[in-house]
C-alpha cells in the first residue's frame, strides 16, 4: 500500500460534505451542500472526478440507487465515507490545524469559525 498523503482542499470539503449528509449523499445533494456552505461554485465534473479518486483510494464507497422519472430514468449514485476516509480526513484536518495554530493573521475569521 502506498503511504497515504494528506488530502487536498477539495477532497477535505467533499469528505466533510459526505459526513454531513450521511446516507443522503449523492451528486446533487453533495454539490448543493458544498455550494451553500462555502459559496463556491462546484462543477459536476470536478465533483465526480474527486469522488472517483477518493473511491480509488478506498476513502469512500458508492452504490447505485433507484432510477427516477425526474432524472430521466437514470439512477442516483449514493456515496458514503469509509472508516479509512474518516481517519485520513481527521489526519489532514489535524495537520492543517497545527499549521494554523497561533497564527494571528485573521482574528475575525478565527472568531467566526469558533462561533460556528
Amino acid at each position: 500500500m502506498r503511504k497515504a498523503k494528506n488530502l487536498g482542499e477539495f477532497e477535505i470539503i467533499v469528505l466533510a460534505a459526505l459526513i454531513r449528509l450521511g446516507t443522503d449523499a449523492y451528486g446533487v445533494s453533495i454539490r448543493q451542500e458544498i455550494e451553500s456552505r462555502t459559496g463556491r461554485a462546484v462543477s459536476v465534473g470536478a465533483l465526480y472526478s474527486t469522488l472517483s479518486r477518493l473511491e480509488e483510494k478506498n476513502y469512500v464507497a458508492s452504490r447505485m440507487g433507484d432510477a427516477t422519472a425526474e432524472r430521466g430514468g437514470r439512477a442516483k449514485r449514493h456515496y458514503i465515507i469509509k472508516a479509512e476516509g474518516e481517519a485520513q480526513l481527521e489526519k489532514s484536518v489535524f495537520a492543517l490545524g497545527k499549521m494554523l495554530k497561533g497564527i494571528k493573521a485573521w482574528p475575525e475569521t478565527l472568531k467566526t469559525l469558533a462561533r460556528l
Partner: protein, 214 residues
C-alpha cells in the same frame, strides 16, 4: 432528457449540445449518475427561469469537461491518446526552447565542419540530444498526470490539458508548412522520430510509476 418542467405546456429539455458533450466526456461508470444529477437539478431550476437553467447547464458542461476528460485519460483506454497529446505539447515547448537557445548557436559553432564526416557525427549527436529532450518532456508530463496526489503542478497540468489537445493539430500543420525554412524531407524525418520519442518517454515513465505502486 428532463422534460418534467413545463413552459406554455411544452417540456423544456437541457441544451442538446451541452448534454451530448457531457455524455461523450463522462466515463462509463459515472455517466448515468452524472447526467441524471444534472437533469434533476435542471428540472428544479427550469421552473424558476428556463433561460437561467439553460445557462447553468452550459456552465456545468464547459467547466466539467476538463475534469471529465482528464479523469478518463487517467483511468480508461483514452489515457494513451490523452497522454500522447500532452506529451506532444511538452515536446513542442521543448523544441521551441531548443530552437531559441541551442539551434542557432550550434549552427554558428559547427559551420566550419560543414561537408566533413565529423559534421555528420555532430548532426547525429545533435538529433539524439534533441530526441532525448523530447522523450524527457513526454516523461515529465506522464509523471505529472499519473501521480495520484494532488499537487500544484498536477492541478496545473489538469487545467492545461484541454489547451494541449487543441494545440496538437496546429502544431502538426505548422511542421508540414511548405514555407518552413527546413526541407520537407527533414521535417518528415523529424516528425517520424519525435512522435515515438515523445510517447516512448511518456510510456517509460508511466511504466516506472506503475512499478512503484503496489
Amino acid at each position: 432528457m428532463a422534460g418534467n418542467a413545463e413552459n406554455f405546456g411544452a417540456p423544456i429539455d437541457p441544451p442538446r449540445l451541452a448534454h451530448a458533450l457531457l455524455a461523450v466526456s463522462a466515463g462509463a461508470t459515472d455517466k448515468a449518475a452524472l447526467i441524471g444529477d444534472l437533469e434533476e437539478e435542471f428540472g428544479q431550476r427550469v421552473r424558476t427561469s428556463p433561460r437561467a437553467a439553460r445557462a447553468w447547464y452550459w456552465r456545468q458542461a464547459y467547466s466539467s469537461l476538463p475534469h471529465l476528460l482528464l479523469e478518463r485519460m487517467r483511468t480508461e483506454r483514452m489515457r494513451r491518446l490523452g497522454l500522447a497529446a500532452l506529451a506532444v505539447l511538452a515536446g513542442f515547448i521543448f523544441i521551441s526552447l531548443w530552437e531559441i537557445f541551442v539551434a542557432r548557436n550550434a549552427a554558428r559553432g559547427f559551420a566550419g565542419l560543414s561537408g566533413t564526416p565529423s559534421f555528420l557525427a555532430v548532426r547525429i549527436v545533435y538529433l539524439a540530444a534533441q530526441m532525448f529532450g523530447v522523450a524527457a518532456a513526454g516523461g515529465a508530463i506522464a509523471a505529472l498526470i499519473f501521480q495520484r496526489e494532488e499537487t500544484f503542478l498536477h492541478n496545473a497540468v489538469r487545467r492545461l490539458a484541454p489547451a494541449a489537445i487543441v494545440m496538437f493539430l496546429p502544431w502538426i500543420i505548422a511542421t508540414l508548412n511548405p514555407a518552413d525554412t527546413y526541407p520537407l524531407s527533414f521535417r518528415l524525418v523529424w516528425l517520424a522520430l519525435a512522435a515515438p520519442s515523445l510517447v516512448g518517454g511518456a510510456w517509460l515513465v508511466r511504466k516506472w510509476l506503475s512499478r512503484r505502486a503496489p
